[in-house]
């Protein structure tokens, strides 16, 4: 049963595709694969540590202040990662922009904290959050790959070229909001057709 806790986050209970959570960052920062990697890393850091802490001290939190306490813990982890990214890679900080602080209210984190971490033991929470962040990372890298390739013609990660610029006039619409919704819609439909979702 233990491993299943991890793998369910990847596909069967993928936070974005199945639970339809965390849509805001998924659509907003997936204009470049580099951003997606940065977001995936910081998201995983916050999700795993905050849920672990919540699961550890879930016994002591009285009902009246449950949500404010959870949120202070999550927000503090986000502030820590925010400061570190601001200090160590300003370009990524510029790209992620407002969506870095918004990890605090990312529906997945508080959702998992409320639904899972505040009820289940530490070990399971670790597996669950690791699975969830892996699932989240998987989907946002996939979407940003599609959008960047079609939107700018090629994929550039940390400076070096992955796919050659074969598209002479790229569909810049892909990088704009309508393109984001469209890619997500078609992707969900395909996955539904393949019976994955």
């Amino acid at each position: 049963m233990k491993v299943q806790e991890f793998t369910k986050g990847l596909v069967k209970k993928n936070p974005v595709l199945v639970l339809a959570l965390g849509l805001c960052p998924t659509l907003a920062i997936t204009t470049r694969v580099e951003n997606a990697l940065g977001m995936a890393f910081s998201f995983a850091f916050v999700l795993i540590f905050s849920n672990l802490l919540i699961s550890a001290i879930k016994g002591f939190i009285p009902k009246d202040v449950r949500i404010p306490t959870f949120i202070v813990i999550i927000a503090s982890f986000v502030t820590i990662i925010d400061l570190f990214i601001h200090g160590y890679s300003p370009s990524l900080y510029e790209q992620l922009g407002i969506f870095l602080p918004l990890i605090t209210v990312n529906c997945i984190i508080l959702g998992r904290a409320e639904a899972f971490a505040s009820k289940r033991p530490l070990g399971e929470t670790l597996l669950d959050t690791a699975g969830m962040s892996a699932g989240f990372a998987l989907i946002i890298v996939l979407i940003s790959g599609i959008r960047e390739f079609f939107g700018t013609g090629g994929i550039v990660i940390f400076g070096h070229q992955f796919l050659p610029f074969i598209l002479s006039s790229p569909a810049t619409g892909m990088i704009l909001p309508p393109g984001a919704f469209l890619v997500m819609g078609i992707l969900l439909a395909m996955l539904k057709k393949m019976g994955v979702v």
Binding site: I67, A75, S76, P101, N106, P177, A180, G185
Partner: protein, 193 residues
């Protein structure tokens, strides 16, 4: 001081928080199946957004800046928003029970609504508005959110009873509708200086 009208038009149409800034998508897709629910959610979000904008601006101006701990804005703002939403829920449940029953279930949802924290951060950080401007921006963004939610709900109700491929039913078709809506709203961009 930014002229207020241009803020309102910008917040509702041009950079509509849902369709161009991608904030508040989880409730946007979750609640937009019924027009009645959408209106209720829109009202609740507009109310909380305006109050939150005022509260957070005051805290930023008179607590964070004097102590030079602006970086703490995330923790301070979200603590204020979460407590404020919980307070509203407690007060409404006692004083207006039927209003509470009408949109009670949406209140806890609002705390995790990215749009609320998003607006408060935009007010103080990205746009650095004055007090009145950020209050007006909070209200206008709430109206923008409700407008997008309302239109989406109208369309999705019609979609439910129209013919569409099986694999597109539900969320996929909702996303494609949202993409068309975003395309339409993009026509507004560049309208205000």
């Amino acid at each position: 001081m930014e002229n207020l009208l241009s803020i309102v038009i910008a917040a509702v149409f041009i950079n509509n928080i849902v369709l161009t800034k991608f904030l508040g998508l989880c409730p946007f897709f979750g609640v937009s199946t019924r027009v009645r629910n959408a209106l209720m959610m829109g009202l609740a979000v507009t109310f909380v957004m305006s109050c939150a904008s005022i509260l957070t601006w005051l805290i930023y101006e008179y607590l964070l800046i004097p102590f030079e701990i602006e970086y703490m804005r995330i923790v301070a703002f979200i603590l204020v928003i979460a407590s404020f939403v919980q307070l509203v829920e407690i007060v409404i449940r006692k004083t207006l029970p039927d209003l509470y029953r009408a949109f009670g279930i949406y209140l806890p949802l609002i705390t995790t609504n990215c749009a609320i924290l998003g607006v408060t951060l935009i007010n103080v950080e990205v746009e650095s508005y004055s007090f009145v401007a950020s209050a007006v921006n909070g209200l206008a963004t709430g109206l923008g959110f409700s407008l997008a939610l309302f239109m989406m709900a109208g369309m999705r109700e019609r979609l439910e009873i129209s013919e569409q491929p099986v694999s597109f039913r539900g969320l996929p078709i909702a996303f494609i509708t949202a993409s068309l809506l975003a395309l339409a709203f993009q026509g507004f961009s560049g309208m205000v200086e």
